[in-house]
Subunit: 264 residues, 2 copies
């Protein structure tokens, strides 16, 4: 069986806010798509792509308080709006990958998985495995999933990607972020911030971690890094790289060290 790589494309890398409206960042997305295509051509990987939500998901989730679960029928409009908005973004990501020559197929996490208190308790992993074996590149996303306790919960792409990497026994996870990796402090406000070539759980305490640029409803940066560390602790190579720097996603997919390697 070919090596399996999971690519997480950060929501803020694939989207932007234009006059308060969620827009796809086609230029950046198309560049990443062609890097994916190049990596797949060079190595015959199997691949799963997971993209974040950016303003497509975060805005309606915030507006209707769905980050606190579903407790009230007035949130139904928000559930419909959020799911619709994520379908729309996913449609564009699949299109971009298809146009680049990738055998991309939409994969809907909310039809596949069930959460309990925000954690995945069921997921149709074997279906993904089957499609991968046919040569398909399933394209999933962070989304609102049914939650046994809260009605619905947000499942962040940053949790889904390492979860699937573990279940599918991936060799590598690449996270394309809106910064170049993990920094010693927030590079957007601190000019002395250093990019860390490696980050291990020992280092976590001394850092002031900050999230991505946009409003994020999917929980703090630390939880996301811990999820990546868990994957790393099972022998999966995990790297956070810049989703803006041309060539970095391709290099990381091929195993080059161009961002921050996440260690246990």
């Amino acid at each position: 069986m070919n090596e399996l790589v999971v690519l997480k494309i950060g929501g803020s890398v694939a989207t932007r806010k234009e006059e308060g409206k969620a827009e796809v960042d086609s230029v950046n997305l198309d560049r990443i798509s062609s890097e994916v295509r190049q990596a797949l051509k060079k190595k015959g990987y199997r691949m799963v792509v997971i993209h974040g939500a950016g303003p497509f998901g975060h805005n309606p989730v915030k507006k209707y308080g769905l980050d606190e679960g579903f407790s009230d029928r007035t949130q139904l409009a928000g559930l419909v709006e959020t799911r619709r908005s994520m379908e729309e973004l996913n449609y564009h990501v699949v299109e971009s990958l298809m146009n680049a020559g990738v055998n991309a197929v939409a994969f809907q996490p909310s039809a596949s998985g069930l959460l309990c208190d925000g954690r995945i308790v069921d997921f149709q992993v074997s279906i993904l495995e089957g499609f991968l074996s046919l040569g398909v590149v399933p394209v999933g996303y962070g989304d609102l999933l049914l939650d046994e306790k809260r009605g619905v919960s947000v499942l962040s792409g940053d949790y889904l990607a390492p979860y699937l990497a573990l279940k599918l026994k991936a060799q590598r996870v690449v996270v394309a972020a809106d910064v170049g990796g993990i920094y010693s402090s927030d590079p957007k406000i601190d000019r002395d911030a250093r990019l860390l070539p490696e980050l291990s759980s020992r280092d976590l305490g001394g850092l002031r971690l900050t999230g991505s640029r946009s409003t994020d409803v999917t929980g703090g940066m630390e939880g996301k890094i811990k999820a990546l560390m868990e994957a790393s602790s099972k022998g999966i190579e995990v790297q956070v790289v810049s989703g803006y720097e041309p060539g970095f996603v391709e290099k990381a997919l091929l195993g080059e060290h161009v961002g921050t390697l996440i260690k246990k």
Copy 2:
């Protein structure tokens, strides 16, 4: 728990072929959507909508021989194209229902279910149940699903609808077709064809059943009717009605007899 109704919208009712290209039949689809909205307003049903593929699915499936399963990597392009095309049609059906005021949410059968030799062996029915209990109207479709034996197989909406009706313990299945129900012979070529108010398994032998207008890759009409009869045999009211006749879908959803009732 409110009554549950499953509505199957025939592919040929929601789409048309325009100069060889698959198009959404927005006028007809929007009318059906507003009838769905009316029925939901009058009765507080829970509802699942399943739509067929029409040329959106049948054309690429035929072109790449996917109705015979997946045996060859050259079919991968066809798999990608078919899944994409069905996502596109589903996007429009959900949009039409949302615009009519229905809490419609896309539901992807290929992320949820697994087939073996064309038959459903696994499906995330409990997830659908959960979303229904929140007030969501899941909108699924006939699609290409992973098949343990054949690689992939077509799962017709005409099989998925009665399957879900049985699993979800629906009270009623309404099939909106491109004809007014089941006829004694093909009404498109025989002027003496009579609309049958009822059809039971006893009657099946004496009929010359024909499929829908468009090329259909989902198996013969008889198999579909038998699937509906099986639902009927478990006490579910099953009716085939015209998806073109204004008001008929709404009436059938509300329990009026305006087409052919399918009996055991």
